[in-house]
Assembly symmetry: C2
Homo-oligomer: 325 residues x 2
């Protein structure tokens, strides 16, 4: 089943080749070491894969989109470095985060360099649509920052409406997945209309993916998540689980739940999960995940390419939803 999740050997070799150039030719070492560190961590490279598959969907060769795919992946990893600083997260993919392994200044500066590298990589893409590709990539990149800001803004609120949450994850998570797919489609010469349908697919897949990510934070296996179990709970993040539970509780319970969730009591994760289970929030989240996944498939259905070409993307997305890490 995992063959749909990991990048192909050919693409892993392409990425490693780029990293070797970075390692050998780019100086000073202290700037690039953290970039190599995070990019060499084993990861699913979902954004890379989806960008490639978007290109292939429209009949392009994967070579037409490898730089777009790598740029999207590098941009994503840049956001991880800076987000981990903002969240003060110590572990990711079972390894120390960059600011933990090095320090704050290294995380800031290497992250900045990585964002610039994403553009440098994208500019290697030979395509007659290079300017629209750059424009769309830039739009997605900015929207990701807006999503991260909304996430931070939510920290100061006791609770947010479910549609605000969906808007936040659309920007923070789905925009880049969809943006990568959009530029992958353009790399294959897709029309803006067709690329927009694939963008819609990516947005809904991204939302479903983030809902699953929220779930895995406390219902996944620690080793597989590669982060601390219940990390979102410990940080008082406004996840779908928290929001749904809050709105499902009687008014007098909401305050108690809120104080628990935003506080730092002993066994906080267990206590919060008791509330979660009490309202069966997991079932709700699975339902919502399915709802957005179905929306994604509906968009895919509308795309005007031979049905047989949609199979690979369909399988990949399906496996992504079945993931337990």
């Amino acid at each position: 089943m995992t063959e749909y999740i990991e990048p192909s050997q050919k693409h892993l070799a392409f990425i490693e080749e780029y990293l070797q150039v970075l390692e050998k030719e780019f100086k000073p070492h202290n700037l690039y070491a953290p970039i190599l560190y995070i990019l060499r961590q084993p990861g699913k490279k979902i954004r890379f894969n989806l960008t490639i598959k978007a290109c292939e969907l429209f009949g392009g060769l994967s070579e037409d989109a490898v730089y777009s795919a790598l740029a999207t992946e590098v941009f994503h990893n840049f956001t991880l470095i800076h987000d981990d600083v903002m969240d003060d997260a110590s572990t990711r993919r079972n390894q120390p985060t960059v600011h933990t392994h090095w320090d704050l200044n290294t995380a800031i500066l290497s992250g900045d360099a990585m964002l610039i590298l994403a553009y440098e990589i994208l500019l290697k893409q030979k395509s007659s649509a290079i300017v629209p590709i750059l424009e769309h990539f830039t739009e997605a990149a900015r929207v990701v920052c807006e999503g991260q800001q909304l996430d931070i803004d939510f920290e100061d609120l006791p609770v947010v409406q479910m549609d605000s949450y969906i808007q936040m994850i659309t920007k923070k998570t789905a925009a880049l997945i969809a943006g990568g797919m959009y530029i992958g489609a353009l790399s294959a010469g897709a029309s803006p209309e067709q690329a927009n349908l694939l963008h819609e697919f990516g947005i809904n897949l991204g939302i479903a993916f983030q809902i699953r990510d929220d779930m895995l934070d406390c219902y996944g296996e620690r080793q597989k998540i590669g982060k601390i179990k219940g990390g979102d709970i410990l940080q008082g993040k406004k996840t779908i689980l928290y929001i749904r539970t809050w709105f499902s509780l009687p008014e007098e319970e909401q305050k108690r739940f809120e104080s628990l969730y935003l506080g730092h009591s002993e066994n906080k994760v267990d206590k919060v999960m008791k509330y979660f289970n009490q309202v069966d929030v997991k079932s709700y989240a699975i339902e919502q995940e399915q709802k957005y996944f179905d929306k994604a498939l509906l968009a895919l259905k509308k795309i005007e390419v031979p049905e047989s070409r949609k199979l690979d993307l369909f399988h990949y997305a399906n496996n992504l939803m079945g993931r337990d890490h």
Copy 2:
């Protein structure tokens, strides 16, 4: 004399118009407020002006390069936000720095968004050379990060060679000035050869400019600098003044000077300046500034445009060197 330093009314209006769009149409507020804050601070906008003048030198209209100029200026201000975090600087342009006025996370995230906005602005530039413009901008941006890394690396060393210092400021300061001028030249349709000569002008002007900046840190007037007097000394920065003084002292004095400079004793700035004055480091710095300025003019001389067109840039650069803030 200052008419050559400040941007023209027309360009100030152009910048303000952009900022008003940013203010009204871009959300969430908390992400963009720090960007508006730093971009609305009165500043010399040297990089903006030089990019415009580079375009005009080759017979272009300033309209051909306004987005290139603004992108360069916005990128520069992004580096200020992140550098101020890394240096833990509390004041810039006589106002609290972004992480002081808001907080660390705001400074990181708004800085990131600003770097992306620089690309968004640059992509508005209508030019047949847009891809080379983007490539060169990206190259300069990456080199600026490398320069900042070298500056950080120097913190752990007692002293560095003068040529390492020159390399560092070439990357950290001169690369963006020269990069802006290069893309300004391309915007006017200059050939890569001619643009390279202007790049050489910009590199040497940038070096001279940074040497002057090092000098102003302790020989400038506090109010005019807009930062704490002797800030570099307090931070133990490896400036031209420190390096030259260190190498001018007898061996037995070097250790004492080094300990003083890297330590945090009372009246540190005054004590350090006594050493500076003892070896007349100010004269040396002025000499070096002049040397690089002359190199810049030599490059300008080689550029194949009517001499009369060089006058404006010559005056501007000349006034820049005469600046006392």
